[in-house]
């Protein structure tokens, strides 16, 4: 164990003295949690702008605009009623606009159907929000004009233990992502560097074993990632009022994730020619895993084929396991995913140990 600790300290010193290492361990996740927190925390402007041209300008058309505005998801902005709306949209780079035609009130009072027009790009998420708001307002007014009332309502209820925010759902993904980027992205070029600079050979002249060398890296990353997780958790709680819970299983996942991704990085680094190639290989494998593993996007919202891919991404089990324990308190699911992570880690550890050679051929 003395050799493992000595190797851990020597490696740790070098890692922390490399500003890149410290940046990716602490500063980068901190920046991301602050950035994503600012985007999704509900503070500041969260309404989408809806440009409205009211060519009717009657009590009913104004009431409709008011109803749309009351949905609270849009911010009303007026388009002058004497301009060509399509030209105005183009000139002002407007994403979503609504035109209420002249004769809106007269048509309704004549007991005929009148259409308002929503302009926009249906592929944008803001268009869907505006369409829902306009449709909801139209339905409400239709009920009002018909003297009817809706028979089915909806009451929103969160499924997690407490009133969680987006930042809480994001936090576990952020921890998983940090483990991935540090352990995999750092370990792959490190292994390539150790090979190309003949450090492995030099280590081969000592009593340090391959397993001890790997173990020291896993322990180091587990320690660093635990500190990093505590920091981003604290920022999430103190700055954004996050309510996700740090459980013992959270740290078990950090350890298992470090075990898995350090071993994977070691394996990749053993088979790459040089540090540059190793970094490229780590990126090529790590980036798809980052996006498909549920770090930033919910896996359930992905197309079925992508969900299939997500199922074979090791990061998926780390992220979803962390969410299970930190958000939903579902320890059974968390333990299952922890088991999968550990088994995957063992597979990569054995492969890495076999591939890594102190000796030349």
């Amino acid at each position: 164990m003395r050799r493992v600790i000595a190797d851990l300290i020597a490696f740790g010193r070098q890692y922390m003295r490399s500003r890149v290492g410290a940046f990716f361990a602490f500063a980068f996740p901190l920046i991301l949690i602050l950035l994503f927190g600012a985007i999704f925390s509900g503070q500041g402007a969260t309404k989408i702008p809806l440009y409205v041209q009211d060519q009717d300008d009657t009590p009913l058309s104004r009431a409709f605009v008011q109803a749309v505005n009351n949905t609270t998801v849009i911010e009303y902005r007026q388009i002058p009623d004497d301009v060509d709306i399509l030209a105005y949209i183009q000139q002002n780079s407007i994403n979503t606009a609504l035109r209420i035609p002249a004769g809106f009130q007269a048509t309704i009072l004549a007991n005929q159907t009148v259409n308002v027009t929503l302009y926009g790009d249906p592929t944008l998420s803001t268009y869907g929000i505006a369409a829902s708001a306009v449709s909801g307002a139209a339905t409400g007014m239709n009920f009002g004009l018909a003297g009817a009332r809706p028979m089915i309502g909806m009451e929103a209820q969160t499924v997690s233990r407490e009133q969680f925010k987006f930042i809480d759902f994001f936090l576990p993904g952020m921890i998983g992502f940090t483990v991935l980027t540090n352990a995999l992205f750092a370990m792959t070029p490190t292994a390539a560097e150790y090979r190309s600079r003949k450090y492995f050979k030099f280590l081969g002249t000592t009593s340090l074993t391959k397993g001890e060398w790997l173990l020291s890296k896993i322990l180091f990353y587990t320690f660093i990632m635990s500190v990093s997780a505590l920091i981003i958790f604290a920022v999430s709680a103190l700055v954004w009022g996050g309510k996700a819970v740090l459980t013992p299983l959270t740290f078990a996942f950090i350890a298992a994730g470090c075990f898995l991704f350090t071993s994977m990085g070691m394996l990749l680094g053993t088979y790459t020619k040089d540090v540059e190639t190793a970094s490229a290989v780590a990126n090529a494998i790590g980036f798809p895993m980052m996006f498909l593993g549920g770090t930033f996007f919910q896996i359930e919202a992905m197309p079925p084929i992508i969900q299939g891919l997500a199922a074979v991404m090791p990061l998926t089990y780390v992220n979803e396991g962390l969410r299970a324990t930190m958000i939903f308190g579902n320890e059974a699911k968390a333990l299952l995913y922890l088991g999968i992570t550990v088994v995957l880690g063992l597979v990569f550890f054995v492969l890495a140990s076999r591939a890594l050679s102190w000796k030349s051929k």
């Binding site: 003395r2 020597a10 003949k198 050979k201 002249t205 000592t206 009593s207 000796k359 030349s360």
Partner: protein, 311 residues
């Protein structure tokens, strides 16, 4: 006769298309500096990496301190120090930290005072707290030697320790290598610098194409293969060469100098008097003893420059 620290018999290392080491035999006595000399690709590094336990031989036998390296390396690992070829220290470790770290890896408990003493031995005291990446080439090799010595090794392998260093740093390192011998250690030195082997080694083995082609002390090799003494008529030129040949004395021209070889050292004085009596224009006249360079040229048939064979 001193105890043999290294015994190598019929050692081979074969790859599909290359016999990197092809039936090598030698032994190294305790307290000696033994040099494996040869061009790049001769098999020097492969041979010593087998002895360092970093490569498995294809065949033959090798023993260190009487222990078979194939089966008993773990027992003797602590007695062997290694400076690998092209040694690079860890970029962001200080020499003081690197030596302490390495001591633990070779299972030695080392005090701060012992670390300081070791750094003093290799002349790195002033640079003990500099990052590895900020050390000069010579300082890096010194650190490598300190790390090789940290386990109190009796046998030290130095694989091309001065390659790429400037002449001053090379000479400084030679002093350190001599000091290792002075402290009773056995040193195995691979090099492609002929002057280095000649200056440092007690015993030299010239390796070429995987084989040891000749072996002995530098003096023995020079006496055996050096081709005798050379009389140099500096600046005598082509006309001088023709004038010497006209007296029935074989000679050849090299860079404007006329060289006359005298195989028997007893004939040097007489030959010197003979050529000095010839009326030719020259800047000076002197004799030159052969060096290992001449030995290498005679044996391999080519000169060696920075490890590569020159035509």
């Amino acid at each position: 006769m001193a105890e043999a620290v290294i015994e190598v018999r019929a050692l081979t290392k074969h790859y599909p298309n290359v016999k990197a080491v092809d039936g090598v035999d030698f032994e190294v006595e305790a307290g000696q500096i033994f040099s494996l000399l040869g061009p790049n690709g001769a098999g020097k590094t492969t041979t010593i990496e087998i002895l360092e336990g970093l490569r498995d031989p294809t065949g033959g036998e090798a023993r260190l301190f009487g222990t078979d390296i194939r089966t008993g390396y773990a027992k003797i690992r602590g007695r062997v120090g290694v400076l690998p070829q092209d040694f690079e220290p860890f970029d962001r470790l200080r020499p003081r930290e690197a030596v302490t770290y390495w001591a633990t890896l070779v299972n030695r408990r080392i005090t701060k005072e012992e670390v300081a003493e070791l750094l003093e031995t290799v002349g790195l005291t002033a640079r003990a707290d500099a990052y590895g990446m900020h050390l000069s080439g010579g300082e890096k090799r010194r650190l490598g030697i300190a790390m090789a010595l940290v386990g109190k090794a009796d046998l030290v392998f130095l694989d091309e320790p001065t390659t790429g260093l400037d002449p001053g740093a090379r000479r400084d390192l030679w002093g350190l290598i001599r000091a290792l011998k002075g402290a009773g250690r056995t040193v195995v030195l691979t090099t492609h610098y002929l002057d280095e082997a000649e200056q440092l080694a007690d015993d030299v083995a010239i390796m070429y194409k995987g084989k040891i082609v000749t072996r002995g002390s530098p003096k023995q090799l020079i006496d055996r293969h050096g081709g005798g003494t050379t009389i140099v008529l500096a600046g005598a030129g082509e006309a001088g060469c023709k004038a010497v040949e006209a007296r029935g004395i074989p000679c050849h021209l090299e860079d404007g100098d006329v060289l006359v070889h005298v195989a028997d050292i007893g004939q040097v004085r007489a030959m010197l008097a003979k050529v000095a009596a010839i009326d030719i224009s020259l800047t000076q006249i002197y004799t030159k003893r052969p060096t290992l360079e001449d030995v290498f040229l005679r044996i391999v048939g080519a000169r060696m420059e920075e490890g590569e064979l020159a035509a």
